[in-house]
Subunit: 191 residues, 2 copies
């Protein structure tokens, strides 16, 4: 999780910026030479580091989306999750956040690798849940957070329904309130 | 909701088939003349009926996705919803269903009209809920069905997480079981 500094980080940031800027002006199929030109780097650097346009786009989207909605450490699970969804809502109100999410989904064609994005976010969330459980708090599962908080927010964005302020907080409260009453804690784990 | 018969319906079906087949072989940006050629119709018919490639793609996706997961009328809300999610799961296990959903999302760029798909499905669901309420059943809202059943299923597909058999049924049961205990029935309606 350490951020490599120096030239390598500058190249990555410049290339990510170029991808986001090209997406923002509708260039969703921009080829690597065009991205390289905008970033002011050599196309070879991009091919060497990311291998393909798709891998670059995935990396840019995952890096940016994670960065825009970090999970804070507030000392309570409720506070952590409310901070997290606030970041998601803010990011999704920004047209660039929406474009990145859409580009991420569009890039995952049938022959592509499964995306690492939800896996990475799942690990971030698991760490938050582990801390809360260690404090003795009642915690949901990562699966429940993805299903009942992230999915409803992302569906709104992807299908262009409005995200009303407070939607994320309402979803978090609903999940936390329902916690002790989960009707089927061991269902669906078969196989 | 009546299905126009005759030549008009045949053209529509042939054009929708051509779109789905082209998407299936990776031609996600096929232009109208190419679609027309594959469908065996005149490009002019497509321009006149749909106006643009995007509108055609939206219409094909909405028509097909609705058709593959109809909401049955079983006499109980639980039965209706379980039938509905079974259709969604079946459709999402078919690569063509996944491709259509992804194409639908990808087509909704920042400058596009909001999609009518969720609106159309919302109306179908509302009719089902109205019938159940008239029978005296406890019913969720359409919003809850979209948030807590459809969104988790679609997120799995769009991010290429596996849809385990029974996932939809588990989501329906969870929502129905939680019904009387909704912690905040009037929250988030402000503004």
């Amino acid at each position: 999780m350490t951020r490599p500094g120096g030239r390598s980080a500058r190249v990555r940031d410049a290339v990510h910026d170029a991808v986001v800027e090209l997406l923002a002006i509708g260039e969703i199929n921009a080829a690597i030479p065009k991205i390289a030109e905008r970033a002011g780097v050599n196309p070879t650097s991009i091919y060497r580091r990311w291998g393909s346009r798709e891998q670059l786009l995935l990396d840019a989207a995952v890096t940016r989306l994670r960065a825009t909605s970090p999970i804070p450490d507030t000392g309570s699970l409720r506070g952590d999750l409310l901070g997290w969804v606030e970041g998601i809502e803010r990011s999704m109100c920004d047209p660039r956040g929406q474009i990145l999410l859409r580009a991420l989904v569009a890039t995952l064609g049938p022959d592509r690798q499964p995306v690492e994005y939800l896996k990475a976010r799942g690990e971030d969330l698991q760490a938050t849940l582990d801390k809360a459980a260690a404090r003795g708090e009642e915690v949901p599962t990562v699966e429940e957070l993805l299903d009942f908080v992230l999915a409803p927010l992302y569906l709104r964005v992807l299908f262009k329904r409005p995200v009303e302020p407070g939607t994320g907080a309402r979803l978090v409260e609903r999940l936390l309130t329902a916690l002790p009453a989960d009707p089927a804690p061991n269902a669906g784990r078969g196989g």
